[in-house]
Amino acid sequence: MSRLQFERVDGVPVARPSEDIDAANALVLRDELATSLQGADTLVLDLGATRYVDSAGIDMLFRLAQIVALPSAVAIHETVEQALGAVSPRCGA
């Protein structure tokens, strides 16, 4: 089961998925994330509470970018603040 928490910080969608992202919830989570974007071209995924991501979860995260046609690929930051800092001025990641 997926437990997605979602908010917008300065208009940028920030999603905090459940503790585990695995074959059991990857597809549900992908659909929830895609829906939560609502036309935004950037999504910050806060994996601070996530402990396990299995191959199905990794696959989902990379495919999500294609499905919702995000302009750039996946970038990894240490904190949500850094991620938001990277996207807000649009200087790339």
Binding site: R3, E19, D20, A26, Y52, D54, S55, A56, I58, D59
Partner: protein, 532 residues
């Protein structure tokens, strides 16, 4: 009006009552009885309405010439309408002209019934039903008709009562099975035992319950509760609460939220009954408990050293009293070797004794080390406190013992991805017990989860397939062996293609053996020097 043919005397022939004991169906018995009455009183319709005392209504149960009354489930409130007055006044009532009388049931008018005679059906002075006949032509029911009808009702009363009771008993037996506690789950490193003893003879159900169900991420919910009152009604409300609680827990809410939702639900259901409950979230990996209480007695914790103490609690109000209550969670350490006792007040309360004395008796019984061979903890505690002959109230008791995992652990899992999170947590606990530390533990856990993911995909058919995970160690290494009986798939359209690469990157070695009878994946990790 003339009642010739002496039929009035035959109406309630004793045979009617005796034969009915053999009837399986109350409907059939009533229907035969009504046919007799209708023909002997030369009426056009005959009907019987049974009293539902709990709801204060008469419910149409059998009819002749008025069959739709039963089909439509006509209900007449007590003291209202024709049948309602017969019941509340407990005497025969005659209506000569229906068009001038208050009638609740519209069918009587629709069918053009003109005159009616109704009599109460009583057992030991208690009204259990109303029987009535009707005629399409205006008719004056005479004393003789009334007394014949009343005699018929009197003679049928015992049969109706016993048929109703045996019907209730049959329903109760079926319900009873659904109301019994759910089976306790098999969880490595945890031993559950329980006692469930409804008070009183006969119906072995009550308002007490316990429950154990898996939560997300390998945690367990432990539940104890007690609906006020006894018997079938308390059990019915218990069943509603238990199911609602399971549903709220499955939705993944915080415990405090679950309890608040449950409280609001019980208030809004308007059952007029309150309940006490305690819910625990047992994190097996961290060895911690979180609890919320709604007016329930404190759980008893037994430490590894054998000391028993009641857990301090933030007590919330019992469920069902008022909407919008707050329930505050409390956390407790619960390391391996500890035990927890959840119970209802029937275990500790005795007439003429304070609750403090009862609690102290429980604490002493739990600390008593002399456990009989093979006795579960629940049995041990129970025997130290009560025997069934002294049972005054329902008792539910659930004991949870946290045990060290064995050196070798074998898990049999459903071939369903919902098992993966539970597998990772359980394996994590086992690895930690073998001295495997953080990064290695994480690597082996995730590798085994990948192998399990493959095993789940290999499972064929819609029926319930399983796979096994064997965890073993020697002085050098730990091995996790995942076996299924399906055929290996090299890659899968969704994600699995990365699985084997991930496995190899995370552990010392990952061997995949594909045989005709299934696939075996063996994962190895060297033990660190200090864990050998």
């Amino acid at each position: 009006m003339d009642n010739d043919g002496g039929t009035a005397e035959d109406l309630g022939h004793p045979g009617t009552a005796e034969r009915t004991l053999d009837y399986v169906s109350l409907e059939q018995m009533l229907s035969d009885l009504l046919e007799r009455i209708r023909s002997s009183l030369q009426a056009d319709t005959a009907a019987v309405l049974l009293l539902d005392a709990d709801r204060g209504v008469l419910v149409a149960r059998a009819a002749r010439g008025l069959e739709e009354e039963v089909r439509q489930g006509v209900q007449v409130p007590l003291a209202r309408g024709f049948a309602g007055r017969v019941a509340s006044q407990a005497r025969p009532i005659v209506i000569e002209d229906l068009s001038r009388a208050e009638v609740v049931n519209p069918i009587l008018r629709q069918r053009g019934i003109r005159s009616m005679l109704g009599v109460p059906v009583q057992v030991d002075g208690r009204v259990i039903a109303v029987m009535h006949v009707g005629t399409l032509q205006r008719r004056e029911f005479g004393e003789e008709d009334i007394s014949a009808m009343q005699r018929a009702a009197d003679r049928a009363a015992a049969a109706i009562d016993s048929a109703q009771l045996s019907e209730q008993r049959a329903v109760t037996e079926i319900m009873q099975r659904t109301l019994l506690p759910y089976a306790l789950p098999e969880v490595p490193g945890v031993r559950f035992s329980a006692k469930y003893l409804p008070a009183g003879s006969g119906v072995k159900i009550g308002g007490d319950w316990y429950d154990v169900l898996p939560l997300d991420n390998g945690r367990l919910a432990l539940v104890i509760g007690d609906v006020v009152g006894r018997g079938v009604l308390a059990a019915a409300v218990m069943s509603e609460i238990r199911t609602a609680l399971r549903a709220y827990l499955a939705e993944g809410h915080e415990l405090s939220r679950v309890m608040a939702l449950l409280n609001d639900l019980l208030v809004s259901m308007g059952r007029g009954r309150s309940a006490t409950a305690a819910i625990f979230d047992y994190d097996l990996e961290r060895g911690e408990l979180e609890a919320v209480y709604a007016g329930h007695l404190p759980a008893l914790l037994l430490t590894a050293g054998g000391e028993a103490r009641f857990l301090e609690q933030f007590q919330g109000l019992p469920l069902g009293i008022g909407i919008g209550q707050e329930y505050i969670p409390q956390h407790y350490p619960f390391p391996v070797g500890s035990s927890l006792l959840l119970y209802t007040d029937g275990l500790v309360e005795r007439r003429g004794e304070s609750i403090e004395d009862g609690l102290e008796r429980l604490r002493t019984a739990a600390e008593s080390p002399a456990r009989e061979d093979d006795a579960s903890l629940a049995d041990h505690v129970y025997r130290g406190l009560l025997d069934e002959s002294t049972l005054e109230d329902d008792v539910a008791l659930l004991a949870i013992e946290s045990l060290p995992l064995q050196r070798t652990m074998q898990l049999t899992l459903k071939a369903d991805t919902s098992e993966l999170a539970w597998l990772r947590r359980t394996l994590g606990r086992w690895l930690a017990g073998q001295g495997i530390q953080e990064e290695d533990l994480f690597g082996m856990t995730l590798a085994a989860s990948e192998a399990a993911g493959n095993a789940i995909e290999h499972a064929y058919g819609p029926h319930e397939a399983t796979f096994t995970v064997l965890c073993e160690r020697d002085d050098e290494e730990v091995r996790v062996i995942v076996r299924d009986e399906g055929s290996w798939r090299e890659s899968h359209p969704y994600g699995r293609g990365r699985g084997i690469g991930i496995m190899r990157a995370l552990v010392d070695s990952a061997e995949v053996e594909r045989g005709e009878r299934g696939t075996t994946v063996t994962l190895r990790k060297q033990l660190p020097g200090d864990a050998r």
